[in-house]
Symmetry: C2
Subunit: 463 residues, 2 copies
């Protein structure tokens, strides 16, 4: 991120870095829209009551107060104050309920916006960052085929980013029902507690998780061990997944006709469907990985995390799941499934690890040189003619020495400098244009000249 950014946790890109972020956003939007997702933007603020809704989140929140109310903030209960959204899923749920009469269901939407987390500054984590989300929300019910289609759209989007240096992404899927059924089958009851501890596996390791399961979730050593065995289970096809899971149930005496197994089986069948259908559509893109837990989030079925090859330390760059209880109105429910890319972190990785660079800072392909300030109107007309033909053009800021003008173009990465007829060094009576990268200079007509394909557009490449 930009050097010297003055508030910790609030990243800000330099212009050349912003080119990469903008390219990532444009790419994601293109893929989302190709797949029929509808773009929306929600307001940045929600009611405190909505942000604090029990069981939905453990996120830290920024509350707002008007400058005029400073000193009297506490006259208003937190629930009635406004706060900045910490994700795009809670706002979506509210939006869908609020506008249900105006939407067609299932409602497939994409949304790329900033979110804020009121973390302590010293933790060095982003407190403002961009998320890129896709979700589909049903009215009353939601077919489970979306639970495989949505991660595949994200895989397609991440594949598209590989040209800018992103490594191959693999979605790791699990299902809350599968985990819950298995834990209940073992005789455990603090399901949320177990999920919370299992979620720490990558960070603190199996031994420590086992200790925590015993200490905080009332597990015996055997139960804790069984939880770890489940977490270690992975499979890339449904049959293998089912065999391995059933074997684990047999070892731990979970009967196939128990309520616990039947609950697990529901999740198992969905997960098996997901990996099999994903293998058909995009082989190697999705695996079953039973350690995926998603902490204390609002998910009720499928859960996903996405990892980049060779970038384990980055953690999951695209996470989500199915949530059946987040949005409701009276007895009507709006179940949803969605995934969210942590875009700022991804861009940071692309810039600083994958070596993505903008071909130039300025969108302009041409800078028109100005020999004399009296010529500026003529120079403006040349630039205007180029722009009219879709060629982005700038005009030199001052009629400085030509070398200084070329240096300005060069600093902005503008590849062509245009010399109006009476400004060419040899006094030529035709306009000329010089590619300052290759040094090539040719006579040019403003009505027909085209930049070489290689230099026409701002692009992003890998260093």
């Amino acid at each position: 991120m930009a050097k010297g950014s003055s508030i910790s946790g609030f990243p800000e890109w330099l212009p050349s870095e912003r080119v990469v972020e903008q390219r990532v956003i444009d790419t994601l939007r293109t893929i989302f829209e190709l797949n029929g997702f509808i773009g929306i933007e929600t307001r940045a603020v929600e009611q405190g009551s909505s942000l604090l809704k029990k069981g939905e989140t453990s996120k830290e929140i920024y509350l707002l107060s008007r400058l005029q109310d400073v000193g009297n903030e506490n006259d208003t209960p937190v629930e009635e104050r406004l706060g900045l959204h910490f994700d795009l899923t809670v706002p979506l749920s509210r939006y869908v309920v609020e506008h249900s009469g105006d939407l067609a269901f299932p409602f497939k939407r994409w949304q790329i916006q900033k979110v804020w987390r009121g973390e302590r500054p010293q933790e060095g984590r982003f407190r403002e960052f961009v998320q890129a989300d896709i979700d589909v929300i049903g009215n009353g019910e939601l077919p489970d085929h979306y639970e495989v289609e949505l991660p595949l759209v994200m895989v397609q989007a991440l594949e598209e980013l590989r040209q800018y240096g992103l490594p191959k992404a693999t979605v790791h899927a699990n299902n809350r029902k599968l985990s819950e059924g298995f834990y209940r089958g073992l005789g455990l009851t603090d399901i949320e507690g177990v999920l919370r501890e299992i979620d720490k596996l990558d960070k603190i390791g199996g031994e420590e998780v086992a200790r925590l399961l015993e200490e905080t979730c009332g597990a015996t050593a055997d139960q804790a061990n069984a939880c770890l065995e489940l977490a270690n289970l992975t499979a890339d096809n449904g049959a293998d997944l089912t065999d391995k899971f059933n074997a684990l149930c047999e070892i731990h005496h979970i009967a196939f006709d128990s309520d616990a197994y039947l609950l697990a089986r529901e999740g198992l069948d969905t997960l098996a469907m997901i990996v099999d259908e994903a293998a058909r559509l995009r082989p190697g893109s999705v695996i079953a990985d039973l350690k995926i837990a998603r902490g204390l989030d609002y998910y009720t079925g499928s859960v996903y995390e996405t990892f980049l090859e060779g970038a384990d330390s980055l953690g999951s760059i695209c996470s989500g799941g199915r949530y059946d209880n987040l949005a409701s109105q009276g007895s009507k429910k709006y179940p949803g499934v969605g995934l969210s890319i942590g875009l700022s972190r991804l861009v940071s990785y692309m810039l600083h690890t994958a070596g993505a660079v903008a071909s130039r800072v300025s969108p302009a392909a041409v800078m028109v040189a100005v020999w004399d300030e009296n010529m500026r109107p003529a120079c403006n007309r040349i630039a205007q003619a180029l722009r009219g033909r879709g060629i982005a053009a700038d005009v030199a800021p001052t009629a400085a020495k030509l070398g200084k003008q070329i240096k300005y173009a060069s600093k902005l990465g503008i590849p062509y400098v245009w010399f109006p007829a009476d400004a060419t060094e040899d006094g030529s009576d035709s306009d000329e244009v010089k590619n300052i990268v290759t040094g090539e200079q040719v006579a040019a007509d403003v009505q027909s000249w085209e930049p070489d394909t290689l230099y026409a557009q701002q692009t992003v490449t890998i260093q």
Copy 2:
């Protein structure tokens, strides 16, 4: 804006309305980049000290507090708290100073982002809205040709929006030095006060402004009258402007060799240059209008407001000016000139008055029908093939009756429904595609079929 938006002042668009907003944003970005402006995004928050800097603004501000700090907010002085930015100019000034070593000057940037104003809710004004800004910032100095080029870029952008129903826009320009010189020539000293009252002219009328000038700025009836005469002066060319202004000075005994006149003359010459050069490049786009004051803002020279033909009640939709003292570092100054479009208000006008409508809600051109859930993998492959050829495609959510599937496509505005071979009603062995707007149905090959140009893309038209 979306019906029933639940927090007053925080507009939120329905999906079909968002299509129009997105189109406006895309159009502005295209024009800004064609003109060589560099896109940046700044963080949404600034230090309180930066937002409250004396003399910069009278804007209302939202301050942030972490949920964990609720009750202890007042332990931190406002200057050290974080607040949401109320415009994009103050953040730009801070960004430029912070990153000056990494930027090429003059730095031309575009920025389209949300801003927040902590207004009282009952006023019914937007408290969150999108601004679209262009500015150019110099390092130490900034040539005045930018003072005509920047408003012209905005005119070009607004011209481009006329295809979506926007009326013709005219920039009204003035110059602070011209006004100040004239007021001083009259013997007035409370220049800020006079500008503040003159700024109210359109809202409260000349009589009331004259009364306020006498009451609050110590003006005599004659002085107040002279201020109104100046405010009534308009001109569409430099010679006419100069003649009219000089005549007014003679009437009010402002000597052409006085310091006051020389100050006014500086502004007059810049303003004359602006209207003349604008007339050459885009006739009829910019006039001199000496009532433009821009209230208590940070401008030091040129000021601009932009009005739409037949939409006077909307007020200025694009305002700005030159500011020489906003950004500085030690003795080094970064003078700038820029304009800002109040995008949310503009989109609101386009939707509700100009009749701009999205051709469809969904970006998809095609929905693949699903005859039977077992066929879904085949349907997904059809959609994938179309997407691979750049045709946005959706797949029916369920294998419901065909009528229900077509109704879903129709509600989303998706023009084509694709019938996979064994799903066509007549049992045809070739795929068929139906345009559900025209009723036309033809055999189609997923590798070669193209939608009619009219139906290929989501567009915005005027109702």
